[in-house]
Amino acid sequence: MASKSDSKRLYVEKIKKGTVIDHIKEGFAISVLKILGLEGRNGTLITIGINVKSNVSSSGHKDILKVENIYLDEKQIHQIALISPGSKVSFIEDFKIKDKFVVKIPSLIKGIIDCPNENCITNVDREPVLTEFKVLSEKPLKIACNYCERILYKEEILHMAEKN
């Protein structure tokens, strides 16, 4: 018979090397996978837990992702922060946690998502600039393009993050 602690851990298998993203806002694990561009077709082991019970989340649920052999870069971490701030990222090596941190929305979102305004100069091919958005409010999330001043809300931010 599985112990109480085993029953809590059975959902998601341990990984030897790679990234664990825990405490993802419930229902957003698939969006995170899209952002990371992971489809699992190259044989990468990806374990997903959706609507897993959580004692920490106010809703009582969370999503969790474990991705073997892949470490996230800074851009990907910031992208996750946009759709699920407060997610916990752990980098794993030899089944041990090498580094662990909570993702936070950066004050300046630079080069992370494109501007949805087609007429924004940042969408012109070959102009040598990265998009820049300043955070107007974190809750609810509201950001503005530093170039065209277009204001983006949560849904549009999620859409743009998935598109990248």
Binding site: R126, C145, C148
Partner: protein, 307 residues
């Protein structure tokens, strides 16, 4: 703010004190034109107009010439390396080597900001997409201030395409520095942009949004007309419904106060009947002269330290 070597990207950058300082400079130059006719000798202004313009480009060029400076530039992207695929960033880096000041008009929003990033010389935004046209706003405030002898206490109506009209965005930001009551009169589809209204709310500027042109007209001291563009409507039936609802005719002018003024950034199409041009309240051609005055002040204050 110190104008010397500064950029003009948005009307939001100006305080009331800045605007009043520019108005004073414009009047100072106007009152002694001969004295300032060699003020900018040896200075070169580049006018880069990637989009069509009559008044903005010519008044900037005229202002520079009247102050003794020289002008280079183009009035269509078609005659430049942009046609060969050159980026705006590369164009700006090049022109910054040939001039002391760059005036840029571009169809893309954020173009002036990008130009600012790549230029060693000051950049003046002369209109970028449907975002802003700050120097038009400044000349509009000068016109209001001179023609009405005050800005405070006025009821000012901005009429027409308030969503895509860049001049009304800049003007609304500038007027938020004064004690005015703003009326935004437009079809529902072309209401004032949220980001502008948000900025006005933060500055506690009073504004009312309405679609009722005739009912609001009698309240106004300043009537600022703009063009409603057909191409802004996905559904042409919608356009047909509103196209005649925001037109100043001789008959409608009877609703307007005797001492009100009619302004328009021009070009106009049919929103002001030519029959009104002779009405003493029609001030849109005088307004173009304030453009020359304000642009002289802007250029001189950017190119000369302590002017």
């Amino acid at each position: 703010m110190n104008f010397f070597n500064s950029d003009i990207i948005s009307a939001k950058q100006y305080s009331r004190e800045d605007i009043e300082k520019l108005i004073d400079l414009a009047l100072k130059i106007e009152n002694d034109k001969e004295k300032y006719s060699r003020l900018l000798q040896g200075k070169i202004m580049a006018a880069l107009f990637f989009e069509p313009s009559t008044r903005t480009r010519l008044s900037f060029e005229s202002a520079m010439n009247y102050l003794g400076g020289s002008v280079i530039g183009f009035s269509s992207a078609g005659v430049t390396s942009v046609k060969k695929g050159e980026t705006l960033a590369d164009t700006i880096r090049t022109v910054a080597n040939y001039s002391d000041l760059i005036i840029i008009r571009h169809n893309k929003e954020g173009a002036a900001k990008l130009a600012q990033k790549f230029s060693d010389v000051p950049i003046i935004n002369a209109g970028n997409g449907s975002q802003e046209h700050p120097t038009q706003g400044l000349l509009d405030v000068l016109a209001i201030s001179e023609l009405k002898k005050t800005v405070d206490g006025l009821n000012i109506g901005l009429i027409g395409d308030l969503k895509y009209g860049r001049t009304v965005h800049s003007l609304a930001h500038l007027l938020s520095n004064f004690k005015v009551k703003l009326y935004f009169i437009s079809p529902t589809q072309l209401k004032m942009q949220y980001r502008v209204k948000d900025a006005l709310t933060q500055k506690k500027t009073s504004f009312t949004e309405t679609t009722d042109f005739k009912e609001t007209l009698p309240l106004l001291d300043v009537i600022y007309m703009t063009r409603i563009q057909k191409e802004r409507f996905g559904d042409l039936e919608e356009y047909d419904k509103v196209k005649n609802a925001f037109i100043l005719t001789k008959k409608i002018m009877k609703l307007v106060k005797d001492d009100a003024i009619i302004l328009h950034p021009l070009p106009r199409v049919n929103e002001i009947s030519p029959k009104i041009d002779v009405d003493p309240r029609a001030k849109y051609f005088e307004q173009t002269y304030y453009g020359l005055m304000m642009r002289k002040a802007i250029i001189a204050s950017i190119l000369l330290e302590n002017f």
